[in-house]
Symmetry: none
Subunit: 265 residues, 2 copies
DNA sequence: CGACCTGTGAATATGGTGTGAACGCAGGCA
DNA sequence: TGCCTGCGTTCACACCATATTCACAGGTCG
């Protein structure tokens, strides 16, 4: 199994003895380790592409609870392990409830701390990973994760990285409606701010590029009030199949076209 | 989001005091709980569709390590929490390394045990794409939460999000009468204002769309002065059974239909 | 029969989505 | 260094799907 994959861990702690011992062992195990002795803004944590965060709330001061809760809410894919001296059952329960993944009590053996980090990362990885990326085929498209590109008729769509990752995500859940929040979470790596339209904008760019290289297919379908669904469909078919010869039907043509693409959610 | 989904947990322990306390709290929290005082074959665990397994290795005897390792290897989607009296660091590390998700030391507060089970389940669930609940089948209908849609004879009903959620709620309490206030509360997320007719209007829209795609069934029944009940019934039965061949009977057809559907409170 | 509840269609309000363009940031290049 | 370019983000506006409200007709109950 892939449990031996390297782990990227950040440690927020001032207990230099504990940290240096941990660092030594982590290095021996081939982990990537970052250290800090104070709160790190969520954005930076994102940039580090961490698997897990090991934090002693003592270094966070008064804002400890707020900070932890914020991290857990904004970075649901980050494993959070609290490692603290004394704590009450109520505190631990509260933390675990709002998103902390494990809560270790000091003094603790560094080996156990590492094992718990590993357990959290494993559990965490099992979910999103698994879908090892081979090339995907869909309609006229070929999506090649090894190139970060998609092709139609051997021509590249010239996708940017974000565009590619969005397309890749959608295509690997073919037929399933993905909510905007989910999409944002998985592609951008952190929680979507209320009112953010980035997903919509990228969907539009994707549609443009898809249309340009593969005009006779429609790939991305809008589910009003929900999100988007990837499902390659040859164009043209729609008018025949969804609107089967209703003589009395003189509704506006553009309306029909929209129906074919926008599916009430 | 849906972190409050019910958790299905199995407990393998002989400490009846601990287990009964836990059971009480679990029930209060709406969890599904199974208990056993000995090893349970992996196959049965699968059949229980568990989120997590809480186990004291003491009940497993000599085979404890083998059993645990086997469970972790064969059911990687099952959260495994060990809860034991005394243990060495080496034991904990070994367990956590080969797949145990958390290791609690007794005596422990049942609330903390539950919080840890919750944390493990949450982490575990996040991966599987939010673990939507499975498709529902009712009459000619198929209700698919992953698509936010219902289908009859492979044709979409074109439900909007609200319509879908209303139908989903009703269908998942099949046979039960739901009061308007309850419905509103669950679908809209807040309390219904006095005199609000939204539920009625949406029921009508649902009935229309159901009728359109599945005319020979009636699904939603009115309970006067109370609310609505979802119960798929083949139509036509009524005409034959309730109104058996009365030649003189020319009462309005819609009236008959309503009779069949409206049940006095 | 009268009070109240529900069904129904239409009008209106709300809010989600498509779209073009402007902005800001970073990396490449002269 | 300063310009240029590509990319991601944000904004404003138009358009339309959906949600809510309203008025009235019909049905139900005591």
């Amino acid at each position: 199994m892939n449990s031996q994959q390297t782990i990227r861990l950040a440690v927020l702690d001032t207990d230099s003895g504990f940290v240096t011992v941990l660092a030594k062992r982590a290095e021996a195990a081939g982990w990537q380790l970052r250290q800090s002795t104070g709160a790190v803004p969520p954005q930076e944590l994102v940039a580090m592409k961490l698997n897990a965060l090991l934090v002693d709330p003592a270094v966070l001061g008064d804002e400890a609870w707020n900070y932890l809760e914020r991290i857990c809410a904004e970075l649901p894919d980050l494993g959070v392990i609290v490692c603290t001296g004394r704590s009450t059952v109520a505190q631990r329960v509260r933390g675990l409830r709002f998103g902390v993944d494990d809560w270790i009590t000091k003094p603790c053996h560094p080996e156990e701390a590492m094992a718990r980090v590993e357990a959290v990362s494993r559990r965490h990885r099992r979910g999103r990973g698994d879908a090892e990326d081979g090339p995907l085929q869909a309609g006229e498209l070929e999506i090649r994760p090894d190139q970060f590109q998609a092709f139609a008729a051997a021509e590249s769509l010239d996708l940017t990285r974000r565009e590619f990752e969005l397309l890749h995500l959608l295509a690997s859940s073919k037929g399933q409606v993905l909510e905007r929040e989910t999409i944002y979470q998985r592609v951008w790596g952190y929680a979507m701010a209320h009112g953010d339209r980035s997903v919509d904008v990228f969907i539009r760019k994707l549609r443009q590029k898809l249309e340009k290289r593969s005009p006779s297919w429609s790939y991305i379908h809008t589910h009003f009030g929900v999100g988007y669904r990837f499902d390659p469909e040859p164009a043209g078919i729609v008018a025949e199949e969804i609107r089967p010869a209703a003589a009395s039907d003189f509704t506006d043509r553009s309306q029909q076209l929209h129906d074919e693409v926008t599916v009430g959610s």
